[in-house]
């Protein structure tokens, strides 16, 4: 039987790293837009982001990743539960912080950063449960 290339833990670590890369450049783009970078640097950044995107897609789809088991299923459940609680608390904090009549507008890049934060948090939480959970 052919063994998968990546363990589940390793795939989550890779995914977390790639999301961190996406978030780093996403946040950096606020001060240094990619289109204003010199060509070689722009090519390198775009190339790195493309590689990160491919790795994220492959690890999310579970390509070449070992199959999960009862322990990973339980850790996945705990991760999603904790993540929901955190998002719930963040939304509550936002409701308290925002004044009446105030609107929240998220541009495409901000939405990508927000989505990336949730995905990165999910990977990190899963890895923490794998490492320290019973």
């Amino acid at each position: 039987m052919k063994r998968p290339v990546l363990t589940l833990t390793r795939s989550k670590q890779l995914s977390a790293l790639c999301w961190a890369v996406v978030l780093f450049f996403g946040a950096l783009a606020n001060w240094f837009p990619v289109k204003d970078l010199p060509n070689p640097l722009r090519t390198a950044v775009v190339g790195l982001l493309l590689v990160a995107a491919v790795v994220i897609i492959l690890t999310t789809l579970g390509v070449w990743v070992e199959k999960g088991d009862e322990r990973s299923a339980e850790n996945e459940r705990r991760t999603n539960s904790t993540l929901f609680t955190l998002v719930f608390l963040a939304m509550g904090a936002l409701l308290v912080w925002m004044k009446n009549g105030q609107t929240l507008i998220l541009g495409r890049s901000e939405l990508l950063v927000a989505f990336g934060c949730v995905c990165l948090a999910q990977d990190i939480l899963f890895l923490l449960y794998e490492r320290f959970g019973a």
Binding site: M1, T7, L8, E66, G68, D69, E70, R71, S72, A134
Partner: protein, 67 residues
């Protein structure tokens, strides 16, 4: 606290963690956690592991009262 004889039984059969993991359908890391007593298996997994070693569940897993 859960104590197991998995490592002892596994080594007596010259088996590595990956082989045992494949036999019972879990990841190698899960076997590692089980051996260290850091994971409580489901009843099915406990029975599958006991079956591999041709033992009863009670012979492989014991619960020790914490002081």
């Amino acid at each position: 606290m859960l104590e197991t004889k998995i490592k002892e039984l596994r080594l007596a059969r010259g088996m590595d963690q990956a082989t045992l993991a494949a036999l019972v359908g879990v990841r190698r890391e899960t076997i590692g956690r089980l051996e260290k007593g850091q994971y409580n298996p489901s009843l099915k997994l406990a029975m599958d592991i006991a079956k591999v070693f041709d033992r009863t569940v009670e012979e492989v897993f014991t619960f020790r009262e914490e002081p």
